[in-house]
């Protein structure tokens, strides 16, 4: 007898039958009925109409039945908020049950009922449970705070639950500590309110103690939290590293990777010549290799992170290239990542092995993989100079296989080899030319044409070869057309006598018969060059070209440093900066990115706030912006001193809008001499208020290891305009009339050549909303509203006379003198 019976429906009156069974007198029948309801729920059937009947079953001493009812409640409370209140009493009662299992269960379930009305009833029981004598209840309650915060953040703050959570970090039970850390990190992610998790040496010590004793999942939370800490000196960094290192031998791969993150980050702070530094580097290699023997999904995430690690510190894995050799039944996503890392680790010492492997891969079945393998051979040639010859001969072997896509890919990479080592391997051109007919992909055709053009003087029949491409000129892709044009011009400059006709043909094709602007422009440029001064043309077109660089796909160093601090996260899997993901969690999409671009046009000119001369080598330039409803202070820190800088911190003086930073300065790594870092500091307006003059003045103090520096800057007012500043039409009308004339201000905007629609569009990008538009006596009247972060509304009337570049504006506000000044600043 199995549960699958619950899935079989017999009649259409299923709900009706269940209802009857739920109200059955026999306890057993009721339990069976609840099971059926749950089963129906899991397959997505709507059984919400049974809510009152199921809730009736809640008052029971049968634990299983209670759990089942709780399950149901969590699912449907949202759709039946009024009914859900009926359950509150039972929860409150269960929270005082003598059995801690029941207390914990109740507090757990309460938090999952996502109904605003109910949450306030839950504060008292939760407060009690946070102080419960049983650690099992306390640790469950810690998570409940995170749940509640998700539903009603304000209430959690008001009730002081955040403080209680912080207290739990000092709890005697490691599991409670781990859960408190987990809850706090989740809360701080959704709500960047500064020092939620205030890390100081005492806290760190507690976390390190708990680290040894809590569950594997708790260890992950604690390690991730530790990685945000900036140790004050080398000694502290080393002692943390020593206590984290044993985690590298954990069976849970996530624990291992989080430990690697902490160690990789703190490694930066250790002196490079110390013994410990060397030991630590050695200890990092085996656990990374072991991750690769896990399930393919684990391997994938590990490989993405190893890719970062080998770029940062290739020495860790340079001996281990063999573990990245591909097995034929690895999933494709593992194969491609392994290949990438193999190339990064390729060196003179191991190139023979690597090449033999790559050649093997080139005969595999999966076309994508084969292509990438061929491409990898080319990258090896460019990276390891001594191997270039061997790579070229391997590529020639592959071309001999005549497998179409292999040949094409090989020709593309051979072009790059020619660009890196000019005049070295031209002897193979003849072999390449044999395969001309089989090339059907634009990349390969373009590569071949480039080679023919570049080495035209050594190919006897270069003109014939290029002419053959010219026949279907208009059917070629733009890339091929452009390359062909250049190649024929090169050919002409090298052998002018025989190819005059050909060059004229291609120039006319490019300039007269094509409507592609790029092609036409390039055609004309060549044409004029050739017709005015063939000698100069020769100098220009056939000049020495710079060699292509070794590795073109390296991650930019500042991003790499940032990603190293986020090993194991989604950011490290996608190799994108982590803030891209924090924004993602707020539901941001493409269109808001566009809006961001527009906003940027207006305000993103960086101003130098703190010149290096005044701050012992630290230069800060910055601007303010508003994106996705949050204010940011975007700054570039440049170290123009000769020593590295660490321990950055920032503080604002009290100001008119109560602006304060919501996170500490996100600079985690030392800033090396001549290095710069771009950061975006989220702001909020919940700080203390003091009137400044001018109103939007902001005084800032920045500290680093050298000294403390002060500067002041002006905040553009538009960053305070909130997104929901659109007033209802009716409300607008009434308010407009109610505001006394003393609060009105008239002004003129001069020299603005825009029409009403463009103006209102532009203003809307800055959160100034057009409520209505009227046309009175040939003039466009715009009625607009905006709201400031401090809740003040400002209404405006804008009169635009077509043809007259001067606008007349009238502004009204319902606040006091304070806002007067505001308006002056706005336009």
């Amino acid at each position: 007898m199995t549960d699958s019976k619950y899935f079989t429906t017999n009649k259409k009156g299923e709900i009706f039958e269940l209802k009857a069974e739920l109200n059955n007198e026999k306890k057993e029948k009721r339990k069976e009925a609840v099971k059926k309801v749950i089963a129906a729920m899991t397959v997505g059937k709507d059984v919400s109409s049974l809510f009152p009947d199921v809730v009736n079953c809640m008052q029971t001493d049968n634990l299983e039945l209670k759990k089942l009812v709780y399950l149901y409640l969590m699912n449907y409370a949202k759709s039946q908020p009024d009914m859900a209140i009926m359950a509150v009493n039972s929860f409150v009662k269960d929270c005082e049950d003598p059995n801690p299992l029941i207390r914990a269960l109740a507090v757990r379930t309460m938090g999952c009922i996502r109904v605003d009305k109910i949450t306030e009833y839950l504060c008292e029981p939760l407060r009690k449970c946070l102080k419960d004598e049983d650690p099992y209840v306390r640790k469950t309650a810690a998570v409940c705070v995170a749940k509640l915060h998700d539903i009603n953040a304000q209430m959690v703050e008001d009730q002081g639950f955040l403080d209680s959570l912080r207290d739990l970090i000092a709890d005697s039970n490691p599991m409670v500590v781990a859960n408190a850390v987990a809850a706090l990190s989740e809360i701080s992610e959704s709500h960047p309110n500064s020092n939620l998790l205030d890390l100081n040496p005492q806290n760190i010590n507690k976390l390190l103690t708990a680290l040894n004793e809590c569950t594997e999942w708790g260890q992950i939370f604690i390690l991730d939290c530790l990685s945000n800490y900036n140790p004050k000196d080398e000694r502290e960094a080393q002692s943390i590293c020593e206590r984290v290192t044993p985690r590298l031998s954990h069976a849970n791969s996530a624990v291992v990777l989080s430990a690697v993150k902490v160690l990789m980050k703190f490694l930066e702070l250790l002196p490079k010549d110390s013994d410990y530094y060397g030991t630590l580097l050695k200890k990092l290699s085996p656990p990374l290799v072991t991750l690769l023997s896990g399930e393919p999904e684990v391997q994938y995430v590990a490989l993405r992170n190893i890719n970062l690690i080998v770029q940062k510190r290739p020495e860790i894995l340079k001996q281990e290239i063999k573990v990245f050799f591909v097995k034929y039944n690895d999933p494709i996503y593992v194969k491609l990542e392994k290949l990438d890392i193999m190339i990064r680790l390729a060196s003179q010492a191991n190139i023979a092995q690597v090449l033999a492997e790559l050649k093997e891969y080139a005969t595999e079945v999966d076309v994508d993989f084969v292509r990438k393998a061929v491409r990898a051979i080319g990258r090896c040639a460019i990276k390891v100079e001594q191997s270039a010859e061997r790579c070229v001969s391997t590529l020639l072997d592959l071309i001999q296989t005549k497998v179409n896509y292999v040949v094409q890919e090989a020709i593309v990479v051979i072009r790059d080899i020619f660009r890196k080592y000019p005049n070295k391997y031209e002897s193979i051109i003849a072999t390449l030319c044999e395969n001309l007919d089989s090339l059907d992909e634009p990349d390969a055709r373009a590569a071949m044409i480039w080679i023919v053009g570049e080495y035209a003087e050594r190919i006897d029949n270069a003109d014939e070869l290029l002419e053959s491409f010219l026949e279907g000129f208009h059917d070629e892709s733009t890339q091929v057309q452009l390359t062909l044009l250049t190649a024929i011009v090169k050919l002409f400059l090298k052998k002018p006598s025989e190819t005059q006709e050909l060059v004229q043909q291609v120039l006319s094709l490019a300039t007269q018969d094509s409507d592609n602007p790029d092609l036409r422009d390039r055609g004309y440029i060549y044409w004029r060059l050739l017709s005015t001064d063939p000698v100069t043309a020769k100098e220009v077109v056939l000049s020495e070209k710079p060699l292509i660089s070794e590795e073109t796909d390296l991650i930019e160093p500042t991003l790499l440093d940032e990603l190293i601090c986020h090993i194991g996260s989604l950011a490290s899997v996608y190799h994108k900066p982590p803030n891209a993901f924090v924004e993602g969690s707020h539901g941001i999409h493409q269109h808001s990115a566009d809006q961001f671009a527009i906003m940027k046009q207006y305000f993103s000119v960086l101003q130098v706030w703190l010149p290096a001369t005044k701050a012992k080598g630290l230069e800060i330039a910055g601007t303010f912006s508003r994106r996705q409803g949050h204010m940011y202070m975007d700054m570039t820190f440049i170290n123009k001193a000769l020593q590295h800088m660490t321990d950055f911190a920032i503080q604002f003086n009290k100001n008119s809008f109560g602006v304060i930073p919501t996170t500490p300065l996100p600079i985690h790594t030392p800033l090396m001499p001549n290095q710069s870092i771009d950061i975006s500091l989220p702001l909020s307006t919940i700080g203390p208020v003091m009137k400044m003059d001018p109103l939007n003045n902001l005084q800032v103090a920045v500290k680093n290891i050298i000294d403390v520096f002060y500067f002041s800057c002006l905040i553009p007012l538009n960053i305070f305009f909130v997104e929901d500043g659109k007033m209802e039409r009716q409300v607008f009308l009434v308010t407009w009339k109610d505001i006394p004339n003393e609060n009105e201000l008239q002004y003129q905007i001069k020299e603005c050549h825009l029409n009403a629609d463009t103006v209102s569009g532009k203003l809307q990008n800055n959160n100034i909303f057009t409520i209505a538009k009227r046309n009175v006596e040939g003039q466009d009247m715009l009625y607009q509203s905006l709201k400031l972060t401090n809740g003040i509304w400002i209404l405006a009337e804008l009169r635009i006379q077509p043809g007259n570049p001067n606008y007349t504006g009238k502004k009204k506000t319902n606040a006091t003198a304070f806002s007067y000044k505001l308006m002056v600043h706005i336009f």
Binding site: A39, D150, S190, W217, I220, H250, A251, A254, S258, N329
Partner: protein
């Protein structure tokens, strides 16, 4: 943290969903289905898929995709590890982890998922604790439950969850006290055409089945602990003692558990226990190809190589094969082109071979790819790395337990290129 979980079968149907926070619409899985369609093989679906509002992190096991939905920055490995743990738990509870088994036990499945995660935070993932909370379904218990009206759900606070040894429950009692340890090594290797080893490594585990009463404290020492420089331990192992003395000291969980896994890397010399002689050729312009394969033992320290199974993915151009095995049976699937040969035991006096011809499509050109040969085998009573347990001692309890240690070597991903 983990927001929701969807279970998807190989035909792309969602057959179970579970939400730990607000409900996420099923339509989020459309992004997963797209990726599934694009993938040539089921195992090629990428494990992390971005969607506009969420990230989908999935693992594929037993032909079921376990798709977790997350909304904010969560370490992907954390999610992947957790999902594998879910699968292990299901397997532990139901014997198998199939769609049918999950549907048959849907109530237990829900109770389990509810206990394993709270608001997306892992709660109880140790099988010992879970089994105290929710009793695994057995035929007997189902019958008893139906008669007496009792339930699968434990009434007690799981004691282990609070103690310093959360992996062991208190008050364990056995009449026969026994402790068995299995040293199992899997050898992963790639052998090239000419028979030389390109890479070879050993993944070893020590699985234990400990049924001892009370709170026993065990120590396990090795003859050659030097081999174990890359190890992952069960949380019960005292790391400090290992660092200092190279001795495993631990209070074991009750029942089956993995004490330790280790990795002997390609830098050490790894013995290869079998060799393959092969000759797989196609001639240009001929519709026939030759196929010859001979297996033989090598470096096995006199132990027999058993349960040998050879498989190979032949080129797509191969229509059929006509082969003659000297022992065992072979099958060829003309659709998937998979050749598999069940060899059995290798007799060193009379080496098993498989010889014959392959027929190609008439007029087709010579296939480009070279088939790889995959070999599975087992060798009893030997750990190929040479690892040997020195002694096993028990402290803390008075009785004399029965102890046993077994060694075995298996092929992991053992591939021979041709």
């Amino acid at each position: 943290m983990i927001h929701s979980l969807f279970l998807v079968n190989s035909s792309g149907d969602i057959f179970l969903e579970k939400h730990w926070k607000s409900v996420v619409s099923r339509s989020v899985c459309d992004y997963f289905f797209e990726a599934q369609e694009r993938a040539s093989e089921p195992e090629n679906v990428p494990p992390v898929i971005p969607t506009p509002h969420h990230y989908l992190i999935s693992v594929l096991r037993h032909r079921i995709y376990f798709v977790a939905v997350i909304q904010s920055e969560v370490p992907p490995l954390f999610v992947i590890e957790f999902l594998h743990r879910v699968v292990d738990t299901f397997q532990d509870y139901f014997g198998v982890c199939t769609e049918a088994a999950i549907k048959d036990n849907v109530v237990v499945v829900y109770e389990l998922l509810e206990e394993m995660l709270d608001n997306g935070f892992p709660l109880a993932t140790e099988s010992n604790i879970l089994k105290e909370l929710i009793k695994p379904p057995t035929i007997l218990r189902t019958v008893v439950n139906t008669i007496t009206g009792s339930t699968n759900v434990g009434e007690q606070l799981p004691t282990g969850q609070l103690s310093v040894v959360p992996w062991r429950r208190t008050g364990v009692k056995y009449t026969n006290n026994e402790a068995y340890f299995d040293v199992v090594e899997e050898i992963d290797a790639i052998i090239d055409k000419s028979g030389s080893t390109i890479t070879a490594e050993i993944q070893g585990v020590i699985d234990a089945c400990v049924k001892l009463s009370g709170m026993p404290d065990l120590t396990l020492s090795f003859m050659n602990p030097r081999l174990l420089d890359d190890v992952s331990f069960h949380p019960c192992v005292r790391f400090k003692r290992w660092e200092a003395e190279r001795i495993l000291s631990f209070i074991p969980p009750d029942g089956n558990f993995r004490l330790l896994s280790y990795h002997v890397s390609s830098q050490n010399l790894v013995a290869i226990p079998v060799y393959v002689k092969h000759n797989i050729t196609f001639r240009e312009g001929s519709s026939q190809g030759r196929f010859e394969l001979t297996l033989g033992p090598k470096q096995t320290m006199g132990k027999a190589v058993e349960s040998v199974l050879v498989s190979s993915q032949l080129p797509r151009g191969v229509l059929n094969v006509n082969l003659n095995p000297s022992q065992g049976t072979y099958t060829f699937d003309p659709v998937t082109k998979l050749l598999s040969w069940d060899v059995g035991k290798i007799n060193p006096q009379k080496l098993p071979s498989l010889k014959g011809s392959m027929s190609l499509q008439a007029g087709a050109s010579k296939p480009d790819e070279n088939p790889t040969i995959n070999i599975q085998f087992k060798i009893q009573q030997m750990a190929i790395s040479g690892l040997k347990v020195n002694r096993l001692d028990m402290y803390g309890e008075k009785y004399k337990p029965f102890k046993g240690i077994k060694y075995m070597t298996k092929a992991g991903k053992f591939q021979v290129r041709t």
